[in-house]
Structures are given as structure tokens and as C-alpha cells.
Symmetry: C2
Subunit: 262 residues, 2 copies
Amino acid sequence: GEKRIAIYGKGGIGKSTTVANLSAALSNQDLKVMVIGCDPKADTTRTLYGQRLPTIINTIEENKNPSLEDIVFKGYNDILCTESGGPKPGVGCAGRGVIVAMKNLEKLNAFDEDLDVRFYDVLGDVVCGGFSVPLRKDYADEVYIVSSGEYMSLYAANNISRGIKKLKGNLSGIILNKRNVLNEEDIVSIFAEKIGTKVVGVIDRSHLIQDAELDAKTVVEKYPESVEAELYSVLAENILNNNEKSTPEPMDEDEFEDFFKS
Amino acid sequence: GEKRIAIYGKGGIGKSTTVANLSAALSNQDLKVMVIGCDPKADTTRTLYGQRLPTIINTIEENKNPSLEDIVFKGYNDILCTESGGPKPGVGCAGRGVIVAMKNLEKLNAFDEDLDVRFYDVLGDVVCGGFSVPLRKDYADEVYIVSSGEYMSLYAANNISRGIKKLKGNLSGIILNKRNVLNEEDIVSIFAEKIGTKVVGVIDRSHLIQDAELDAKTVVEKYPESVEAELYSVLAENILNNNEKSTPEPMDEDEFEDFFKS
Ligand SMILES: Nc1ncnc2c1ncn2[C@@H]1O[C@H](COP(=O)(O)OP(=O)(O)O)[C@@H](O)[C@H]1O
Ligand SMILES: Nc1ncnc2c1ncn2[C@@H]1O[C@H](COP(=O)(O)OP(=O)(O)O)[C@@H](O)[C@H]1O
Ligand code: SF4
Ligand SMILES: [Mg+2]
Ligand SMILES: [Mg+2]
């Protein structure tokens, strides 16, 4: 059956980079993948398609009845790519793009595609409005949080876990995207354990990933023989084989502060 | 008259640190200052009060009719401190804390205090719901954006500018809080110029600021003779003397990408 996976995390932590590279790695195993950007930044699919896609919310503004080809595009290895986008800042709920996108994708039967993996890349700085929609069972069955070992990132991860728990969802694991903090792997492993989950994979910080991105490519496409590409293949494998998920046990504020101090 | 200032910027960029230290610096000039935290992280006032304050939204949950003393507290040099807080993630709009806070502060005449400066420290990762409330003229007359020279931070600053423009507000300047990026001062100066504003002050990255924070103090309180404390005094002076504001001219997406590439 199709694996439907929502990826959350603090803004700038590496969700889009992780989703794009994971998708590329999975496509190299001949799996059919779809990527749905749910961040107003609308740049998850840029390295898969080669440039920024028009967003669903912008397309709808000009054309009330778009066809599927107007909003879903084929990228690297035929990965299906689409971007929700967001309304203009200051104009209503920033998450409205996600809500509009889901409605239109459903209407056009985009979710009926015969897929192996579907990713939602979701803004995680606030867990509300449209941004909490992919946490619901009708959209995703698994949730991963991308985090580094930095305070701000783990604070956001803990917050996202609160949202998951509130919405009766499950957490499948944490993807450690390193920022070269001291003892980073230990910090994040202990954090994962404390909230009742585990680290499902580690991606090292690397110039090569940024190099490829400047070229609007994933590192998996541009440097397929690299250690970086291999790390994404390993992560992809771990995710495909991961059947564990749990109701997260977020830390309350004092617990989180104590955890970070020690 | 009272200067009412809203401080925006990407999560983690240094808004709370800047607001707390600015307030401490201003209080050392015998000015009466009030700080209103409008970020669900609710930690703007921790270094002024010495510990995390109970939030207005949590206080209301237990006591429908709080007194002013239940929600506004005196910190360092009698700076008035209050935290909006946020609802639990996944439960409605994250900005609801700000809306509830404003309502209760008004009801209790907190805004009738005889003040010289009032700061709102506002989450800037999305500009919607309660988080856009401090942009309205009934709350603040001036808006500053805290930013580093990093792509993500300037992207957020550009986004916030779109929100300000949409809500017919003004931008008074950018506060550069350095992250030691190459050519940081030039990058941020050029960005400021492009969106029709200017850099109003620069704060260097410094361990001493974090050292004081671990002690739940501002660097202005803990190390009053330091270069760091002096930088905040200079910034405070620049802000007090700044009477220029402008409707921001946010860059569209392609402009922003080109600006960053060059
Ligand atoms: N493992 C990594 N090594 C080096 N750079 C990275 C890595 N992961 C992400 N980045 C860079 O960090 C920036 C933010 O990543 P992005 O995926 O856009 O974050 P998000 O989608 O969470 O906002 C991008 O410029 C990206 O190239
Ligand atoms: N100029 C600086 N030098 C060193 N550390 C800083 C500086 N400004 C902020 N920080 C640190 O960065 C972190 C985030 O700052 P904070 O003010 O909480 O961000 P925000 O309120 O924008 O989310 C804090 O740990 C703070 O101590
Ligand atoms: S629900 Fe969340 S995204 Fe929507 S207006 Fe409120 S803060 Fe913004
Ligand atoms: Mg992204
Ligand atoms: Mg803050």
C-alpha cells in the first residue's frame, strides 16, 4: 500500500532538502513518489523540477477550474510535484494555502494516483490552521520531524509533538539533520527517547548538498556516487522499513528546560 | 508621548534578546518601559523578571477575571512585563494568545500606564491571525524587523514587509543581529535599501549575551560595562531618535532570489 508521510520541523531546519533528496533516492529504487509542498515558501519541489513551481493557490486565483496538469508536475525520475503556496502575508490564515490545495487535489483525484510514497512537507513553526491538516488521518499515516540538536529546533519539535498528540496522531521518528552542534547525536537521541520515539536516520551537514541546491538539483541527482547520496538512500531504506509509531509524550516546559541544561 | 514599537523577525533570530536588552538599556536612562511578549514561546521577559512569567492565556484559563497584578509584573528597574502565551499547539489559531492578551490588557487599562516606551515582541514566521494584530495602529506606531544576513532570515523579513504593506503599516528600520555571515553588514544594508528602509543598529554576536541569558539576565544588567551593553545603548538611542518610517517595498520572489545571488 501507499506510504503517506508528513514531514514537520522548524522553518529552515532542512525539511525541503530532506524531502526532495529522500524522494530522489526512493525514485532510484523505481518507486513512484509524489511530493506535496505545504509551506508558504513553496520551494520543496524546486530541486526536483529544476525551478520553482507555480503554487496551487496562485493558479486558482487565475483559473477557478484548473486541470490536474496545471497543478501537479513531473520532476526528476517522474516524481510528481505540487506546491500549495500561501496567501499573501497579512491576508488571512497563512495555512489557507494548504486547505485550498488539499481541496483541489482531491477534486482532481490527484490522490488516486498509484503511488508508493507520498510526502507532505509542512511548515512547523506554528501547528494550526491549514498546517495541522496533514496530521489528520485522511491525509497522512506517518509523521516524521526533521531536527538538529539546537535548542530552537528541539523546542519546535517538542511543540509539534504537542500538536500531534492533541490531534490524536502518531510520531514515527525524528530525522537528525545535523548543524554540527556539540554532542548532537546524543542530544537528539535522548530527546527522541524522552518523547517516546527514536532517531530514524542522520544526515550530515555538507557543502555538497548546498552546491547541488544552487544548481536546482538534489545531491542524489547531481552527485549520485557521493557519501551524501548514500546517506539519503540509507534514510529512505530506514523509513520504508519503519513500522513503529507512537503517541508522542511531549515534555512540559520545565522538563524541556531541564533536559536542555543537562 | 509614548513610543509604541512592534518587533518582528524569524523565530530564533534574536527578537526577545534584543527587546529585553533594549528595554534594560532604556530603563537605565530612567525611561518607563513595558514589554509585551507576543510569541507563543513566552520567554521575552524571562531575562527581565528573572524567570518565565505565567502567560495571560494560561492565567485566564484558571481565573476569568484576573487583576492587573495577575498578568503584568515588574522586572529589572521596574520594567513592566507581560506574556501573551499561545493556545496548546493543534488547538485553534496559534495567534489567539495575542488576541486574548490584548483584550485583557485593554480591559484592565494596562495601556493607560504612563510609559515612555512600549515593546511588542511578535512571532514573525507567519504574518496572520493574532500575530498581525500588533501591526495595527491601535497598538503600535513603529515596526522594526530583527534580522541577520542569512537567507532564511531575510526571506522572513521580506515576508513580514509584505504583511506590513498589506495592513497599511510602516516600517521604521531593520536591526541587524549578527550571525557572522560573510559580508553581513553589506548584505543587510543593501536589503534594507531595496525594501525602502535602513539598518537602525547592529548587535554583534557574543557569548556574553548567552552567558547572561543562562543566568536569566540581560547582558545590560549582568555586564553593564561591556561592549555588548554599550551596543544596546547605542541602538536604544538610535531608536529613540528615529522618526523616519516608510511603507515597505517588499521584493517579489524573483527579485529576492536575484538579490541573494548577487
Ligand atoms: N544536511 C545539510 N547540509 C547542508 N546544508 C543543508 C542541509 N540541509 C539543509 N541545508 C540547507 O539549509 C537551508 C534550509 O533548508 P530547507 O530544506 O529549505 O529548510 P526548511 O524546508 O525546513 O525550511 C537550505 O539552504 C539547504 O540547502
Ligand atoms: N547577539 C547575540 N549574540 C549571541 N547570542 C544571541 C544573540 N542574539 C540572540 N542570541 C541567542 O539566540 C537565541 C535566540 O534568540 P531569541 O532572542 O530567543 O530569538 P527570538 O526571540 O527571535 O525567537 C537565544 O539563545 C539567544 O541567547
Ligand atoms: S491558524 Fe495559524 S496559520 Fe492560521 S491565522 Fe492563526 S496563526 Fe496564522
Ligand atoms: Mg522548506
Ligand atoms: Mg522570542
